[in-house]
């Protein structure tokens, strides 16, 4: 990197921040100086307008445009449901949809189960904080970084050479032949799913751990006095006590999983039958020059996410009312 490049970049950021500060400062100042009669209206507009305008231009209008685009072909003519027919009939596209469904079943289920078990096991143990940090850490890492970490673990070398990928080394230690994991269908999809589970388990664990600590001690003690064993206490006291948190965790992870893009992009780029909807959307719209198909896939994603989000919001609402 040349120094002049660096200076140029710093200048750009500086100008960006300065212009932003100047604009905000100026409109706040002018609103203060507005004539008394109109002052309240002017101030309201000043506070709300920037956000509203940006949302209208950058989110509402584009969402409507995309919805129309989903029913258009490359030339922009309306073609009805052809793009959706393509999604649900072309073998590759169908594969993409099935993969997404496999993802959204496996990831929330397994990461919640592992996260819950871990949260219960380490509850009130010594070094709980360290234990938590270890499993929660992947949450801070980018999906791209996680992709590289796991690609290294899945790396393949011919049987005549020393393995550098841990998974294949374990296979060799057990007396097997090394496998080209990421190119072997259908196991590759599950290997990508493991990466997502690895990331999301920490999230499940932290939330569920907080919920477990919120269960009144009296309930646990009462159950203990009744002579129950720890499994019975888990199913009769802990599980009912954290039900609403469980719902939030599962729905949140489901939404994140439906939109998963970076992991697939980094590890296989969607090749070898591993594509998912969000990745295919990018490929069709920005690589294959098929914006109509891309838009249709985005719309399918929206339809899949919608009910989960609504359910999640309702649970969060009712939880708030209880508190």
């Amino acid at each position: 990197m040349r120094t002049s490049d660096l200076i140029e970049k710093i200048v750009q950021v500086g100008i960006g921040l300065a212009v932003f500060a100047a604009v905000i400062g100026l409109i706040l100042f002018l609103a203060d100086k507005a004539p008394k009669k109109a002052k309240d209206v002017v101030q309201l507009v000043v506070f709300l307008a920037p956000a509203i305008i940006l949302l209208a231009i950058g989110l509402i209008y584009p969402a409507i445009r995309t919805s129309i685009l989903a029913f258009s072909n490359k030339a922009g003519d309306l073609i009805g449901f052809d793009n959706f027919v393509w999604i649900f009939t072309q073998p590759d596209a169908v594969r993409t949809v099935t993969n997404t469904i496999i993802w959204v079943i496996c990831v929330p289920l397994i990461s919640t189960m592992v996260g819950l078990a871990y949260a219960v096991f380490i509850d009130k143990s010594r070094g709980e904080k360290v234990f938590k940090a270890l499993v929660f850490m992947p949450m801070a890492i980018s999906f791209v970084g996680a992709g590289i970490i796991w690609r290294f673990l899945y790396d393949y070398r011919g049987a005549d050479r020393e393995q550098i990928g841990l998974l294949n080394q374990i296979v060799v230690w057990l007396g097997g032949e090394p496998v080209k994991w990421l190119q072997t269908e259908p196991v590759n999809t599950f290997l990508l799913i493991i990466v997502m589970i690895w990331i999301q388990t920490g999230f499940a664990m932290v939330i569920l751990s907080a919920a477990i600590k919120g269960i009144p001690t009296e309930q646990v003690e009462a159950a203990q006095l009744d002579g129950t064993n720890s499994w019975q206490r888990f199913t009769n006291v802990t599980l009912p006590g954290i039900r609403s948190s469980l719902v939030v965790v599962i729905t949140t992870i489901s939404i994140a999983t439906l939109k998963v893009f970076d992991i697939v992009r980094t590890m296989t780029a969607g090749n070898f039958d591993t594509s998912v909807i969000a990745n295919e959307m990018y490929t069709q719209a920005f690589r294959a020059n098929e914006p109509g198909r891309g838009a249709a896939l985005a719309l399918v994603l929206f339809v899949l996410v919608l009910p989960i989000v609504i359910y999640n919001v309702r649970v969060l609402r009712s939880q708030k009312e209880i508190r």
Binding site: V13, P50, I322
Partner: protein, 320 residues
């Protein structure tokens, strides 16, 4: 057992506040098997990162020749990998230094812009009375369900059709450098707004009304109230959201892929890494070090600001 147990309804799923830690009796839920299981999980979860970390300090021949678990049979330590990916000017090296600067140059404004705009809007919703306030707020809240995928194609068209020509003519007229930073900042700002407004509104609306009323009676304008009272009082919430947004932008790949243009002029680390894994997926001496360069910032944030980090993450986990 120190306290007399009270018969509590076992099937109730209502969280009762007020049970303090001191009151809590040590229960022996954790048996030996549970300890072993949690140790196994902890090791499994740490091992992949650990392996990559160790490898990033091994010489190229060692990384490519044998596994990192044989480090004791094949010792070797070098910082060459990091030097190469960060500072080498040769065209075959990843030249991450530039992309690191880009990541910072994208993430800092893309955190500040939505934070300020959302705080202003949140203040208006909470403390300026107007007709339709509630309906508008619910509408903005509802915008969170729009996946950003749904906005990408038209937004790119708007940017390349209107924003870029405008930016270039202004840049030419004033003789200042321009790049795709601007459109990435704007895109991130827009996508962050619904969640940010919602979260900050929750916090700002709970600031005691008397404080604001008193200032208003004394003749302070909304602008003054916002700058002198709201911002200082809302700092914890602002910090939590800022951390969440910073990490979200730092770790983002999709928005960067579409709006950065892909060159070292504006592309962030994540995009460069994704590109490297695609084109040079077997050069592990570079990939391992490169991955850690991108992980350093989030990990520092994670370990130093863990409390804010967790809070921000929990609040923002449905974003995207």
């Amino acid at each position: 057992m120190t306290s007399t147990p009270v018969a509590a309804p076992v099937d109730s799923d209502v969280d009762q506040p007020g049970t303090t830690k001191a009151k809590r009796v040590k229960t022996r839920l954790t048996s030996r098997w549970a300890t072993i299981a949690s140790l196994v999980i902890a090791v499994l979860w740490t091992l992949p990162t650990f392996g990559l970390f160790i490898s990033s300090f091994r010489p190229e021949a060692e990384i490519k020749g044998n596994g990192w678990w044989t480090i004791f049979q094949n010792p070797g330590f070098t910082l060459e990998n990091y030097r190469e990916v960060l500072f080498s000017a040769s065209s075959s090296s990843p030249q991450l230094g530039e992309y690191f600067v880009n990541s910072l140059a994208i993430a800092i404004p893309a955190t500040i812009f939505p934070l300020v705009l959302a705080a202003m809007a949140a203040y208006a919703f909470a403390w300026i009375k107007f007709k339709g306030s509630n309906a508008l707020f619910v509408f903005i809240f509802a915008l969170q369900i729009v996946p950003l995928q749904l906005a990408l194609i038209p937004l790119l068209q708007i940017f390349s059709g209107i924003l870029q020509p405008f930016q270039e003519s202004v840049g030419d007229a004033l003789n200042i450098p321009t790049s795709n930073y601007l459109q990435i900042w704007i895109a991130h700002t827009i996508f962050a707004l619904p969640l940010a407004i919602f979260l900050l509104h929750n916090f700002i609306s709970e600031i005691p009304g008397e404080v604001i009323e008193a200032a208003r009676v004394d003749g302070a304008s909304h602008g003054q109230v916002f700058l002198r009272i709201i911002i200082p009082l809302a700092l914890p919430a602002l910090a939590s959201f800022a951390i969440f947004q910073f990490l979200w932008v730092w770790n983002d790949l999709l928005v960067a892929l579409i709006f950065s243009g892909g060159t070292s002029e504006a592309a962030p680390l994540t995009q460069r890494l994704a590109e490297l894994t695609g084109s040079r997926g077997q050069e592990w001496q570079r990939l391992t070090a490169a991955a850690f360069v991108s992980l350093v910032v989030p990990l520092i944030v994670f370990f130093t600001l863990q409390r804010y980090f967790v809070r921000g993450l929990l609040a923002g986990s449905t974003k995207g």
